[in-house]
Every structure is written in C-alpha cells, then in structure tokens.
C-alpha cells in the first residue's frame, strides 16, 4: 500500500498519467453512439435554408452534429435514417432533431443532407481499414509550388461541386523532388471519380478562333444544377446505334465575358437557315480539353448584344433510352463540375488508383486488436519466465499498453489516419519499448555492481536507451517523405512512438521499478 502511494507521488509517473488522461480525451471514446452524423449539407438546399450547417473544415469526428430524431422517429443508425427519409412524401414537413438543435423544412426531391455513421471515437481509420478510393496523380509537366497549391484548390472545389463529401485532397512530395496530388475518398464511390479527378477540365467556348469565355468563376458566375427548371435531360431520339439524349443547363456569364460576346458577334453576317430562322454565320463551339463537345447556333437577334444567360447543351448516348439518359446526366455533371471549378494549370496523370472494399476493413481492425493482445501476452510470459517476478512483468504490461494508448491519442490529436502501415509502426515502437525496459531491469538487477546507487544504475541504462533511440530516429527520417507520402504514416507513428517511449513511458517505468525493487 505504501509503495503504491510512493509510486503515485513520483513526478515521472504523474506525467505519464497526465499524458494518458490527455490521450483519452483526444481519442474521446463514445459509448452511446446512436444516431447518424451530418457529413455534408448542400448549399442552396432546403436543409441549408432551414439553417442546417456544413460541418466546419477539420472538425473532429466526435464533434460532428448528430441527427437523433426525424418527425418523432428515433434514428439509431444509417438504416433507420434511410427508412424514415424514404417514407416521407414530397412536400411533407420534416422535423429534424439533432444534438445541437431542431430544423423544420419541407422535403423536396432531395434533402441535401449527406449522413454517415456516428463516430465511436476520434480515431481516424485509413483507407485499408474503412474502404474507399485513393487516387495518386502526377502532373505531366514540371509545376511550381504555387501551381501545386492551385491544383489542390481546384481539385477540392471540383470534388465538392461534384457532390462528394468526406474527401481528402493532399499535396505530396517525395525524396526525389517529384510532386503528387493524393485524393482519398472514404466510403463507396462511383466509377466516374476517375474521370473527374484526372481530366484537366479546360473548357473553352469559341466563336471561330476567338475564345469568348472559359470555365471558372472569372467568366461564369452561376451554373444551374439540381434545379429542373434550368437544367436537365430534355430529349432523346432513336438512332441506328441506340439512343442519343440531349442535356441542357443554363449558365450566367460575367460582365466581362458578356462584353466579349458582344464584340465578337457584332461583325458577323446573318444567315438564313433551312427552317427559316436567322442565325449568325459562325457558331459558338464548346471545347472540353481541346475536344469539341457541342456546337450552338447563335440566333441573329443576339448579334452584338451583351448576353449573360446562355443555355449549354450536349449529348449522351446509350444502347437503351435509360442508358442514354444516364450517360447524358453523367456528361452534364462533369461539364457543370468543370465549369464551376475551372481548369487545372496542367494535365494530370493517374499513377496509382486503389479502390478498397469496406467489407474486410472491420476484420482488419479486429484482427489487429487480437494480434496486439496476443503479442503482449506472449511478451509478458517470456518476461515472467526470465525474471520469475510478477513485480516486473506487470508494470511492463501496463507500460506497453499505455504506450499504445498515447500513440493512438497522438494520432487522433493530429487527425492522422491509422492505416496498416501505422499499425506496423505502433508494433515497432512498442517492441523497442519492451527492449528498453529489459535494459532498465537488467541494469537495476545487476548484482555485480552493488556499490552503484539505484538511480545511478537507471541513469546508465538510459545512456543505452538514448543511443538506440537516436539511431532508430535517424533511420526513420528519410522514410517520412519517401513513397509519395504513402509511408509517412508508418514513419511518423514509429518516430512519435519511440519519442513518447523514451521521454514519457520509460522514465515512468524506471520510477516504478525503483520503488518496487527497493528493499
């Protein structure tokens, strides 16, 4: 009893306990995780007008807003949510209760809310453990730092304009000076993502050889989407190969682009078409990545006028009418997306693309826990067999587990995704930890050197530990940047783990052993 008191009073032990407490708060485990968490609120949707807000960027998993109740029905999980939402008719009143407030609005075809599972903790699981899509892109030409930033910004905007939430777009450099863009999309994703991220998205509208306007905010102030009155698939017709459907959506041009249009059209001749309508001699040609997607005739009364509203159209084809409509919608989405986000400063090439099923993810997590536990038990047995002293084996076990908790807490704090490589890093760090503890114990127990005091022995043990730490640290440094950032997790967790080990957990272990083995 006395010894326990003595241990608690050691400042190294207090420090360890503080770190454990802090990690626990960072991980923030939730034991009562009911409801669905809000991932995204579409701008201009009914939900947004009702005051529902998009989760702020960088929000921690456990502080997302959670939907608890809709129209009096308790929402426990995603399937509850889907059931309730699908049973509510068009234009019916929706009363959504969350942990932060209550929102009331009328249901229109889409609610504009994207939901996900409620997080049980702040631990972010990597792609291998959760499932999703990862695309690694490399610019075809050399780019500057600014262009790299631009690509990331455009890519983010493009993916959110495309309606994907839970997207992570990151800059990545490597040891050899190559630059990459890493796009990670959690959960199930559609095949078209590949198209969206890889195309440069250079949109040009030309009359003759003159570019009248291009994609992006400068020239296009508004793109109509998700509103049936100004965007949609308008008609389908049967052809020899199948069906061709035409989509249409309206865009609003900026003043500058409208002036350009007036200037370019004012000297054009007026022709009479077969149907008796008057058109200008040159048409407005739409190009996407230098490929012509459509040609629009300009009616004669627009000659020399500063028009701001333009109807963009294009085709989509398929073997059946349904397929034709689907493809037209896809094409329209893509075109709308690049018109909103503008073009990337350079062409990108997909160098790696992974699509990982969520199915095995949870199995991986459970498996990692099992092998972690078994490995710890195995180590404890070896230690007990070697020293035949429970006073040594138990603190070792405790310290090992604390180390894992603190490393995971650190990962949660810096919002780092735990993937398989990071798990390997945790194992490596804890393994080195056990090695160091053996060094401490053997120094303390060495009978030959009786005339050294206990604290001197521990000091000597720490010389070995610090030397080993310095070399491992040095070995891991180059890996922080190697492999386009895909191994950063492993290197970071290992470095963090051994650092936490030598500065926090091992000193505490030494203090505990000191007290326990005192005569």
């Amino acid at each position: 009893m006395n010894k326990a008191k003595k241990i608690i009073k050691k400042w190294r032990v207090i420090l360890l306990l503080l770190f454990l407490l802090f990690s626990f708060m960072a991980i923030n485990p939730q034991f009562d995780a009911k409801g669905v968490s809000i991932r995204n609120i579409e701008t201009n949707s009914a939900a947004a007008f009702a005051g529902m807000q998009n989760p702020p960027e960088g929000v921690s998993e456990t502080s997302r807003e959670i939907i608890k109740n809709i129209n009096g029905n308790e929402i426990d999980d995603l399937s509850d949510y889907a059931d309730v939402i699908s049973n509510i008719k068009e234009d019916e009143k929706l009363t959504i209760q969350t942990n932060k407030g209550e929102y009331i609005f009328l249901k229109q075809n889409e609610t504009g809310i994207t939901v996900g599972k409620v997080a049980t903790s702040n631990i972010k699981k990597g792609l291998e453990l959760e499932g999703g899509t990862r695309v690694l892109l490399q610019p075809v030409n050399k780019i500057t730092d600014d262009e790299h930033e631009d690509i990331i910004a455009v890519m983010r905007q493009r993916l959110s304009a495309y309606g994907l939430s839970d997207v992570n777009v990151k800059k990545a450099n490597d040891l050899l000076g190559n630059r990459y863009i890493l796009v990670e999309i959690a959960g199930a994703t559609k095949q078209e993502v590949k198209d969206i991220v890889a195309s440069q998205g250079k949109f040009e509208a030309k009359i003759g050889d003159t570019v009248v306007f291009i994609g992006g905010k400068e020239d296009i102030t508004r793109v109509c989407r998700d509103d049936g009155t100004c965007s949609g698939v308008r008609s389908c017709s049967e052809t020899k190969e199948g069906y061709v459907c035409t989509f249409e959506f309206q865009i609003t041009l900026s003043e500058r682009a409208a002036k350009k249009h007036a200037e370019t059209t004012k000297d054009l001749e007026v022709n009479l078409s077969g149907s008796g309508k008057e058109y200008l001699s040159k048409s407005l040609d739409l190009y996407l990545d230098d490929i012509k997607v459509d040609t629009l005739q300009i009616s004669a009364d627009l000659k020399g006028r500063e028009i701001t509203d333009i109807l963009i159209s294009g085709p989509g084809s398929g073997t059946t009418e349904q397929e034709g409509v689907q493809n037209a919608v896809k094409q329209m989405n893509k075109l709308q997306t690049v018109l909103i986000s503008g073009s990337l400063p350079t062409k990108l090439e997909i160098v790696k693309m992974d699509s990982i099923s969520p199915t095995l993810g949870s199995q991986f997590v459970n498996n990692a826990f099992t092998i972690g536990l078994l490995a710890v038990i195995a180590v404890a047995i070896v230690i007990f067999v070697r020293y035949r002293n429970i006073k040594i084996a138990l603190p070792m076990l405790g310290i090992g587990i604390s180390e894992v908790v603190i490393i995971i807490g650190f990962a949660a704090l810096i919002k780092y995704n735990l993937d398989l490589a990071a798990i390997a890093g945790i194992i490596a760090a804890v393994g080195t930890g056990v090695d160091d503890q053996i060094v401490i114990i053997d120094e303390v127990l060495s009978e030959k050197e009786q005339y050294y005091r206990l604290d001197q022995k521990i000091k000597r043990a720490f010389f070995i530990i610090m030397a080993a730490y310095a070399t491992t640290f040095a070995a891991m440094m180059p890996l922080l940047k190697a492999g386009a950032g895909l191994l950063t997790g492993f290197a970071l967790v290992t470095i963090a783990g051994i650092t936490i080990g030598v500065f926090i957990t091992r000193p505490a272990f030494a203090s505990i052993i000191e007290v326990l083995l005192e005569e």
């Binding site: 291998e128 690694l136 490399q138 490597d174 040891l175 050899l176 199930a188 994703t189 090439e349 160098v351 790696k352 693309m353 992974d354 699509s355 990982i356 099923s357 969520p358 199915t359 095995l360 991986f364 498996n367 099992t370 092998i371 490995a375 195995a378 047995i381 070896v382 230690i383 398989l420 490589a421 390997a424 490596a428 393994g431 080195t432 056990v434 090695d435 053996i438 060094v439 053997d442 030959k448 050197e449 010389f463 070995i464 030397a467 080993a468 310095a470 070399t471 491992t472 040095a474 070995a475 891991m476 440094m477 180059p478 890996l479 492999g483 386009a484 895909l486 191994l487 492993f490 290992t494």
Partner: protein
C-alpha cells in the same frame, strides 16, 4: 561460468561464422542478379500492376490462375487463398498481376467468377509502372540514407575527436544530397560515392573500431536477410522495404547495449561483461521474436505478414552478427588496446 570461458577461448574463431555468412549471402545475391537481372524480386507495388482481393468464398484458385494466364499472356500472375485464421473460413482470394490495369482485369475476373464485382466484394489496387520504379528508387535511397545517418550517429556516441565528427557530418550530408539528386544513375557519380564512402570508412576505422563493428553488424543483418528473401523468391513490396528500415533500428539496439557494457563499464572481466550483455540482449531479441511469431501466425494482412517475416529473419541473423561478430571484434579490440 561456461559462456565466459567460451568467449575467452574462441573470440577470434567465432568471427569466422558471420564472415562466411556474409560472403555466401553476397554470392547468393550475385547469382540471383545474374539469373533474374535483379537483386530481389519486386512485387506489383514496386514494379507496376494490380493487386486485387475478391471476397467470395469457394473460388477455385487453379482455375482462376489458368484462365488469367490464358487471357493475359504477358502478365505474371499469382493467386492465393484468403482464410480466416481462427475460424478457418474461406474468405476469398488475393491475386497479383503485373503488366495490366484495373479496367482490363476487372471484366475478366467478372467473367471467370461469374459475379458482378462491386465495392462490397472487391478491392483493387493499381500501381503505374513508372511510379513503382520511382518508389523502388526512393526506398533504396531511404535505406542508404538511413545507413549513412545511423553510422554517423553511432560515431557521435562512440567516436572521440569532435573535429572528425564534424568533418564526417559534412561528408555524410554531401553524400546524401548527391544521392537524392543523382541516385545511382551513372558511373561517375558512383565513383564519387565510393570515394566518399572510403573517406568515411577510413576515419571510422582510424578513430572508432567499435562504431565500425556496429555498422558491419547492421550490414550483415541487411545483406543476409536480403539473400534469404531472394533465395525463397519472396516478392518484396514497399512495406517490405520499410521493414528493412525497422530492422536497422532493432539490429542496432543490441549492438549499442553490447558496446556500452564492454567499453563504458569497469566492473568484472571483459568476458563477464560480454555475457551480462548477452543475457540482456537475448531476452530482448527473444521477446521480440516471440511477439512477432505470434503476430505472424494470426495476422490476416499480407502487408503485415511480409513485414513481420522480414524482421523475424533479420532478428535471427542479428543474433549471429551481434553475439559472434560484434562481440568478437570488440573483445579483440579491447585486448589490443589494453596491451598497448
């Protein structure tokens, strides 16, 4: 004490074993290089291609493999079963194929298995061959850099003169900057590397034999493990190469323990100190070996499986390199120094 006697009588002889292992390993690697053109076999994460998992039980591996071979004659294809270790349940298959991409192989697999492959039952990772080559280059760069930095850190701890430490730091930095800039791309730069390495090695030998012993021990660990890995035709992934970096860390731990105990302690004879270090070192390595073996048996991830296998092999080699080679060199060095 028998072990102390063993060390006092045989400390020179025991060094022969690790040196023979080193030479055999180099020969094995050279043979492998001359037959395959590479020192190690790279998997698709380093050479380009796809690796896919189909989560459907009861698939016929041989049938899938022969059909894939027929349809993708240029690809190198391997197919494995994925089973749950605890329940022995057949979960599906893992396959790797070079020289192909996701869009090509997915429809073929759908046809063979006669199922629509979606995100619920199918994972696929695609690696461009140019990126694979870049990754490999980088991992080699990372390992060589780690070696150079580590050697310098060891020298800082056990070396003597500050001035040499600073000079060696500068040489190490120059070496790494050149390596990251030019890699091993032409013969002139390789000559420059060799000159720099000789300069480093010369000062290390002249000033601190113990540092050289530690570095040699790490070299043996890496080279012998590489040789064993290539002997078994294991295909190394990016994570596998990361495991080699972990090996460097683990290998050095016991060497530093031994060196500190022998050179910086005064109590007991040098043999008693060596045996004391041996006891501690063996406990360290055995706990790690036991923990890794347990993890290796129970893990269901091929990434972790490969990492654990490589570290296990290296730890066993490390027993030889630390307790036969490094101990031998240190005892021999200590005796010579004390006679002088």
């Amino acid at each position: 004490m028998k072990t102390t006697e063993f060390y006092s009588k045989n400390y020179k002889k025991i060094m022969i074993i690790p040196f023979i292992i080193l030479i055999i390993s180099i020969i094995l690697l050279q043979v492998h290089h001359s037959t395959t053109g590479e020192y190690i076999n790279k998997d698709v994460s380093l050479s380009g291609g796809i690796s896919a998992t189909i989560y459907i039980g009861g698939l016929d591996i041989n049938n899938i493999k022969s059909q894939l071979n027929q349809k993708l004659p240029n690809s190198d294809i391997s197919v494995r079963k994925l089973t749950d270790f605890t329940t022995k349940e057949d979960l599906g298959i893992i396959l790797e194929a070079s020289e192909t991409d996701a869009d090509t192989i997915k429809p073929i697999l759908e046809e063979i298995t006669n199922t629509k492959l979606t995100q619920d039952n199918f994972s696929i990772e695609e690696m461009g061959s140019s990126l694979g080559a870049t990754f490999f280059k980088e991992m080699i760069t990372a390992i060589i850099s780690a070696f150079i930095v580590m050697a310098w850190v060891v020298f800082i701890i056990f070396g003597k003169k500050i001035s040499t430490k600073i000079i060696n730091f500068i040489i190490s930095i120059i070496f790494m900057v050149l390596l990251w800039k030019f890699f091993l791309d032409n013969i002139y730069i390789i000559i420059v590397y060799i000159i720099l390495l000789i300069a480093l090695f010369y000062t290390y030998v002249k000033e601190s034999i113990p540092s050289v012993a530690i570095i040699l021990s790490a070299v043996l660990d890496i080279v012998a493990t590489l040789a064993i890995v290539s002997l078994f035709d294991m295909k190394i992934s990016t994570a596998g190469i990361a495991a080699f970096l972990m090996v460097l860390g683990y290998s050095i731990d016991t060497d530093i323990l031994l060196t500190t105990r022998i050179l910086k302690r005064k109590v007991g004879t040098i043999y008693e100190r060596t045996v004391g270090a041996l006891k501690t070192g063996l406990t360290m390595t055995i706990t790690t070996i036991v923990a890794l073996s347990v993890a290796l048996i129970f893990t269901n991830s091929i990434v972790l499986k490969q990492m654990f296998t490589i570290i296990l092999i290296a730890l066993i080699i490390d027993l030889i390199s630390t307790w036969l080679m490094n101990a031998g060199i240190l005892i021999w060095y200590y005796k010579r120094k004390n006679i002088e």
